[in-house]
């Protein structure tokens, strides 16, 4: 049961060989036994999960099951779920029980999926290692002394350690793809606007996008088909027809043109990562793909641009945490101004405060044009680079992250080193393009390497098939961390 994919579990549930109560109970038991080791869940509510499982079983019995009916899914703790404590990894929301469901949560609920629990994450999704959580760092199942990547590190570690068959994540600058790469699982950041942001706690609204995390591309397609869809409550949600993201699975790849940006290798990827990615591209060549060298000349500017725009948007979004209406309030204060300052000083961690300060500065009088507007202009240059490249190829490939998982604590004292982790992932967020990470090998230490596939707008179904064909020909995605069978 631990290693079964969502697709195969779905078939067993449909055939009534397995009940959702059994399945959910099995994963809850694993979580209770192993969460102390990985720290990937921050909130469990067994009664609520099992009630959903019983309802799913009744629905299957009544013959009205859907593919995800009865499947337990771990929810990143950035998604509001009615009646569930929703912390976003922060002390600020340590007592926040959401009065409503995020659109993603409601979609999964409507499909009959079971909420298995809320997963740990970098505070307010600000981080690349899942170490900035108020609830302690998440540990990578491949080596518990290393980070699982971030910010969706709890979801990634849960799927890698077989504590959940699938999970939700969010990706503002790489927060689905990079932890997927570092834990040897699959993660998809969709085109901006395809999945509703309603009820997903805001970080940088022009970049935030939710997506699925699982062990196979086929499972990502199943989850994505349920998670995506128009929602009037998100003003940037796109009015498009519903898609079946599994519709391309099975098509041959012959003739697919893979663009290989020379900057993806030049900008500091470790030798082991480069080797694994090159081997993956060679494998796709054997499946009929052709390659073409392309260039994204402004890619090196993506991290500097991102670390202006994302903090600017964050400083505005996080102004709502004032201690007045919900969440943490400092226990003692002299007056209203003091209440705000003490609440925010005590409620936010160091990285969140740092980003609020950066954002406040770049938006302040006299600096707005030099930083914020300039960053928006360079953002356009980066998006234009992609548009030119997609005239010559169908998908872009390269590493997801310049290195494999690094040691816990290694980069916490040096924000710039931490931010440079995001060099390969931020460009897709800035342009709004879909990006996918799948496992493609290991480094000398036995830590997983991720292959990133970036597609043109709305190319998710095609990208998922590229990943699916690769997974039919290879077995990297089936490897399990030490001690996990």
């Amino acid at each position: 049961m631990d290693n079964a994919t969502i697709s195969s579990l779905s078939a067993e549930l449909a055939a009534r060989k397995l009940s959702s109560v059994e399945l959910t109970g099995h994963f809850l038991s694993r979580i209770k036994a192993l969460n102390a080791k990985y720290n990937c869940f921050v909130t469990l509510d067994e009664e609520r999960s099992l009630a959903q499982a019983r309802a799913a079983d009744a629905r299957r019995s009544a013959g009205s099951g859907q593919p995800l009916t009865g499947i337990p899914i771990a929810q990143k703790d950035i998604f509001c779920a009615a009646g569930w404590r929703t912390t976003c990894g922060s002390r600020m929301l340590s007592n926040f029980v959401s009065p409503y469901d995020a659109h993603v949560v409601a979609q999964l609920d409507a499909a009959g999926a079971v909420n298995l629990g809320k997963t740990n994450m970098d505070e307010f999704a600000m981080g690349s290692s899942s170490e900035t959580s108020y609830y302690g760092p998440v540990r990578n199942p491949w080596d518990v002394h290393t980070v699982p990547g971030g910010s969706s590190g709890g979801s990634a570690a849960a799927v890698a350690a077989r504590l959940a068959p699938g999970a939700t994540g969010t990706d503002t600058g790489g927060s689905i793809r990079q932890p997927a790469a570092m834990t040897g699982i699959c993660g998809l950041k969709p085109t901006y606007g395809v999945v509703s942001r309603y009820g997903m706690i805001a970080f940088a609204s022009s970049l935030d996008q939710a997506g699925p995390m699982a062990r196979t591309a086929e499972d990502l397609a199943l989850l994505m088909t349920t998670m995506a869809g128009y929602d009037a409550r998100d003003s940037t949600s796109l009015e498009r027809e519903r898609e079946n993201y599994a519709r391309e699975l099975g098509k041959p790849l012959a003739g697919l043109r893979i663009g290989l940006p020379k900057e993806f290798i030049a900008e500091g990827a470790s030798a082991d990562v480069v080797k694994a990615v090159e081997a993956a591209v060679a494998e796709l060549g054997r499946l009929g793909c052709t390659t073409v060298e392309v260039s994204l000349p402004n890619m090196r500017l993506a991290v500097p641009v991102y670390y202006v725009l994302a903090p600017a948007e964050a400083s505005s979004n996080l102004a709502r945490y004032d201690g007045a209406r919900y969440g943490y309030r400092a226990p003692e204060y002299a007056d209203l101004a003091d209440m705000y300052k003490k609440t925010r000083s005590q409620g936010f961690g160091a990285e969140v405060k740092r980003r609020i300060l950066i954002g406040t500065y770049v938006l302040s009088h006299g600096y707005y044009d030099a930083y914020y507007i300039q960053a928006q202009r360079v953002r356009r240059l980066i998006a234009r680079d992609f548009a030119e490249v997609f005239e010559r190829c169908d998908v872009i490939m390269g590493p997801t992250s310049p290195t494999t998982a690094f040691r816990i604590g290694e980069k916490m004292g040096d924000p710039v080193q931490m931010y440079l982790n995001d060099i390969y992932t931020t460009p897709a967020n800035l342009a709004g393009l879909p990006g996918l990470s799948i496992p493609c090998g290991f480094d000398a230490k036995g830590l997983p390497v991720g292959l990133q596939i970036i597609g043109n707008y709305f190319a998710e179904a095609r990208m998922l098939n590229v990943a699916h064909q690769y997974q039919r020909a290879t077995d990297w995605h089936t490897r399990t961390p030490p001690g996990v069978e």
Binding site: G193, R325, K342, S345, R354, V416, G432
Partner: protein, 95 residues
């Protein structure tokens, strides 16, 4: 261009984040490192390039000016730090 300690205190005040001297000193060094990274972007010639505020060129939707929300104040205030008679309580602002 490097930030000063006064800049750090000023932006912390603007952001309503309480910060003591030791925190301001630590923040100063780290913010200057981050702005060192950001400087690379500032050197780029972007003459004639329109700012891109959003990933996709979409316009804001309009909707009918009709009531769509129901009154849920009791539910929402059930999680508030301090409430009385349906009002959120904060320290007195006007003497």
């Amino acid at each position: 261009m490097a930030l000063s300690l006064d800049d750090v205190r000023r932006i912390a005040h603007l952001a309503r984040i309480g910060i003591d001297e030791a925190e301001a000193q630590a923040a100063l060094a780290q913010l200057n490192d981050v702005f060192g990274l950001i400087a690379e972007m500032q050197a780029v010639d972007t003459g004639g390039v329109e700012p891109m505020s959003h990933a996709l060129d979409v316009v804001q939707r309009l909707r009918e000016d009709a009531v769509t929300e129901t009154d849920q104040h009791a539910l929402f205030q059930s999680i508030a730090p301090h409430v009385e008679n349906g009002l959120y309580l904060v320290p007195k602002v006007i003497e």
